[in-house]
């Protein structure tokens, strides 16, 4: 499984960062700023108003 660098953001502190991501591979992620595990991939456009804006 090839990994590529993708934008992530923290749902706790809002910190944005880029890190490796391989599709289908579940790894434990934590925010480098606040260490929260509520970290998700920045949704890539076309999402509803609940989504965080895409910075990629």
């Amino acid at each position: 499984m090839s990994a590529s660098v993708k934008p992530f953001y923290c749902l706790r502190c809002g910190h944005r960062y880029r890190t490796e991501h391989a599709k289908g591979v579940i790894v434990e992620r934590s925010c480098p700023k606040c260490s929260s595990n509520s970290v998700r991939l920045v949704p890539q456009g076309g999402t509803g108003r609940g989504a965080a804006p895409d910075d990629s």
Partner: protein, 623 residues
């Protein structure tokens, strides 16, 4: 050797477990017995064959310090006490180019045509004792090991001072076979390092080095030993005495690990540069020989990618981030695997010395014996139940079960999946994954969990945070916070599930529908999951819920995910304080709007369900 002679123990040497199916009390194991080409029942170990064998290869048992032939006895105490042929190096195969051993064997017990044998065994319990591997200092060229002949590992040193070793116990240094008079020992090679080797302490190396310094003193009282250490861990009965004895005989202990080892090209002596952390000074030591106390690394517990499966894969064993297998409970069930009927003995569980390995092996044998002797298994009443009516034979549950407790349904034959209660560990992942609501967990049914949510949010829902906590880690982390008297906000209301894998998406939606401003899903760290990989399903489910929240227009921040271990009481309290701050940012209007959105979504789904039902189709349960 006792095991080899025991009438009720059958040994399968040179054998590998290929597959294991079934469950506690009724495991079916398929074992591949590798061909050894020598009939062990006939061979008398007369040793007529080895002198005629022309193939000479490094002897693994002697750490490559001496050689063996292609027909050999792995080591003097090997069971069975017979010879074996190393097929990779022997010249007797495809076609026979040698066969000299065959000619001299009076018992005629050599047969080059023997094939691997597959043996099917029925067993009631399994003890995993696959041990650990030794850290290989070559790739990182630890302290010049790959370049300097006189830098050896503790295992090589062990063979050099052993009477059964390649030098008959005479300690010589490899470069010129001189007796070393100055020997340096460097501790923690490959251990206690995040970047080189493994992060944990390998447990045995300190005492092993102390023993070696004493052995060295016995061999040659004129030898000056120096030990470079981070800290000496001599806990346990008699170990401190041994350490003190070592100091009394004049072994020097220097606190600090060397930064550099150089070799004098003429004398082949070694120069060790170190900062003595007790004096704060840089020191230079000259040695004839340096011994590296290499640590233990976990055996390969994941498949090698070539179709071969490790025992961890075969038995669905979970492992920690260090790569060590995980017990059912680190304190109360230290020899039990999470899967019932499987036990651990020795270093496969964690690095340990001989005494601890023997103790654990005894415990594992008793646990396995008790299980078999009882003739029946007592299980927790928390198991999965199938409701046949809504089941659509989709097999999602069987794929989600890491314990192989759900046997696949034959969809074509319209057969329902079979739930093996004796194998079910009660994590509830299958129930949460089932899109048809066809599975319920005893004592953690949907109704019971939702009733808890209703109860929490019945009064002042805006003042509450609904937190799902897994029994083993997050809930225990909350306990730890409590017993440590750590303060965390009273607004947090915990709902305990056995595993975070039980937290169904619909529990989250239900909490939001009842007006929860914030929902937390928490569980064990992914590598510490007590149900093998159930927590990965949790993460995937929460990520899916975030996407759905985006689509519905609900702020994803209102659903939080956190991995909290039983020891992380402080983290638990900190996270709860952070969530309390976030709760204050959710307005009643926002919560009410989410409620409306979800109610509308449910109504939409109900309409779709009614339409599909009229058409004779079923609709998966979502929000």
């Amino acid at each position: 050797m006792d095991a080899g002679r025991h009438p009720r123990i059958e040994l399968y040497v040179s054998s590998e477990v290929e597959s294991i199916t079934g469950f506690v009390g009724s495991f079916q194991a398929r074992v591949r017995r590798r061909a050894q080409y020598v009939d062990a029942s006939e061979c008398t170990a007369c040793d007529l064959c080895t002198p005629v064998c022309p193939v000479v290869v490094p002897d693994e048992y002697q750490q490559g310090l001496s050689s063996r032939r292609a027909i050999y006895r792995p080591f003097p105490q090997a069971v069975p006490a017979s010879f074996a042929i190393d097929a990779d190096n022997c010249l007797g195969f495809n076609p026979i180019a040698c066969g000299k051993c065959l000619e001299v064997c009076e018992k005629e017990c050599i047969d080059f045509d023997v094939q691997d044998e597959l043996i099917d065994l029925e067993v009631g319990s399994i003890v995993v004792a696959t041990g650990m591997d030794i850290y290989d200092p070559r790739p990182n060229d630890e302290y010049g090991y790959a370049r300097f002949d006189n830098v050896v590992t503790n295992m090589e040193f062990e063979r050099l001072v052993n009477a059964g070793g390649p030098t008959d116990g005479e300690l010589v240094r490899p470069s010129d076979y001189r007796h070393p008079k100055r020997v340096g020992f460097i501790q923690c090679v490959g251990s206690r390092s995040v970047s080189r080797g493994v992060p944990y302490c390998s447990n045995f190396c300190c005492m092993n080095t102390i023993k070696e310094t004493l052995l060295l003193e016995e061999h040659d009282p004129d030898v000056q030993s120096t030990v470079f250490y981070t800290d000496i861990r001599a806990f346990g009965k008699g170990f401190e005495d041994l350490y003190q004895r070592s100091r009394e005989i004049g072994v020097r202990y220097v606190r600090g690990l060397p930064g550099l080892v150089e070799e004098d090209p003429d004398s082949r002596d070694l120069i060790v540069h170190v900062e003595n952390t007790l004096t704060g000074r840089r020191e230079e030591h000259h040695f004839d020989m340096v011994v590296l106390a290499v640590g233990l690394v976990p055996p390969k517990i994941t498949g090698n990618g070539n179709g071969e499966r490790s025992i961890a894969d075969i038995l669905s064993l979970s492992h920690t981030s260090d790569g060590l297998v995980m017990e059912a409970h680190p304190k109360l069930k230290p020899v039990d695997a999470p899967s019932r009927g499987v036990f651990f003995a020795g270093c496969v569980e964690a690095p340990k010395d001989v005494k601890d390995s023997v103790t654990q092996a005894g415990a594992a044998a008793v646990r396995a014996g008790n299980l078999l002797g009882a003739g029946q298994v007592r299980i927790e009443a928390i198991t999965a139940m199938l409701d046949p009516d809504p089941c659509r034979l989709c097999k999602i549950c069987a794929e989600a079960c890491s314990f192989n407790a759900i046997e696949m349904a034959n969809k074509k034959a319209n057969q329902l999946p079979v739930f093996i209660e004796a194998a079910c560990s009660g994590c509830g992942t299958c129930a949460a994954e089932c899109p048809w609501d066809a599975i319920s967990m005893r004592h953690f049914t949907d109704q019971q969990v939702m009733a808890q949510i209703d109860s929490i949010l019945a009064v002042d829902p805006m003042e509450k945070i609904v937190a799902f906590a897994c029994n083993w880690c997050s809930y225990a982390g909350a306990d730890m916070a409590g017993t440590s008297r750590l303060q965390y906000p009273a607004s947090v209301r915990l709902i305990r599930t056995m595993c975070s894998g039980r937290v169904d998406e619909k529990f989250i939606w239900h909490a939001f529908r009842r007006g929860a401003p914030l929902v937390l899903v928490s569980g064990c760290h992914l590598n510490d999951c007590h149900y093998i990989d159930a927590a990965t399903f949790t993460q995937r489910r929460v990520e899916k819920a975030w996407i759905k929240m985006d689509r519905l227009g609900i702020r994803a921040e209102r659903l939080q995910l956190e991995w909290i271990s039983a020891a992380e009481g402080q983290k638990f309290a900190r996270v709860m304080r952070e969530l309390e701050e976030m709760r204050g940012l959710v307005t009643p209007e926002e919560a009410a709007e989410a409620q409306d959105i979800l109610e509308a979504e449910i109504a939409k789904q109900e309409r779709r369900k009614t339409r599909k039902s009229a058409e004779g189709e079923k609709e998966p349960v979502t929000v």
